[in-house]
Symmetry: D2
Subunit: 99 residues, 4 copies
């Protein structure tokens, strides 16, 4: 089962600069061979369900190991059985209607 | 790793009545032995990370099998390493400050 | 336009105990005359769109005034034009299918 | 109060092709003079709180007028009082740590 996900992970108890934690998560996602696109409020991820979810778990573990005692994540998960669809397909289908 | 999660699963392409799909998910969560609390915009879930995530995957699979060609889920995931905390603890810690 | 919302507000830069901030938000929502139900990962809110959104803004302002330099909120917003539906209706329609 | 938001609006009861609705929302956000970036699971928005929230309300109204009887939105809202920060700042602060 393919999934297009959106990961927004928030470490708590580490002050205001969250970017070192987010960068560590980006590396974990890349090492998992997942296609990702970083944006201003999260990261789009495309891949097989188990690969995506395994990487999300490793992100939580890594952020705790980096010193964050608490983590609150919002994860969106989109699956479909009618047809294959990539992250680029989703953006393009909207962009076409705007041009 | 324990997690307190919040699952809000939205089946698409099946009209407006979503409650049969949500009820099927509630059964899957219960059969997984997870503690759950249904509310008006999702379901709180408490358990071990892998058990919660396995059940969420089965929810997506089941909702597709029930005829929904597309599913969009918003899943919140809270983990902490400083101390154990249950769903009831979270609600009570706010409620105490209101009384 | 009526809305059923779910508010999950996370103050950053204030350590790990978030309940004083959440309790302050609960008071703001109550003072706005909104119907609310607190759960383990947020608060369900029912009311007119402008009343709900005005209260959410005051929550952000109040949490900043209490000392949180950064706030990250996840807000769900459900509206429908086909029929009236309360928070209790949503929970009951699932619960009926489980009994 | 400036806000960096992320809007993910899901129309229900209109089948599987959501892009015409999302495109209509993009136009509303642009007409409101807001800075936006479309991604595969939503749209980043930057602006003053009231301008952003007014546009989100018009998106719900427009999607209902286009024929969707039910709309479920997930909206993230980030505010900070310690310093000004743009959407590009957020992405760049992570990207720097990856290079």
């Amino acid at each position: 089962m393919r999934v297009i996900a959106d990961l927004c992970l928030v470490p708590l108890g580490v002050g205001l600069s969250l970017s070192p934690f987010i960068a560590a998560c980006e590396k974990i996602l890349k090492e998992a061979g997942l296609e990702t696109t970083l944006h201003a409020y999260g990261t789009n991820i495309e891949g097989e369900w188990d690969a995506v979810m395994g990487a999300v778990k490793r992100c939580h573990e890594a952020v705790h190991e980096m010193g964050a005692p608490r983590v609150s994540t919002t994860l969106k998960l989109g699956t479909r059985t009618d047809r294959a669809q990539t992250m680029a397909d989703k953006v393009n289908s909207v962009a076409e209607k705007l041009s």
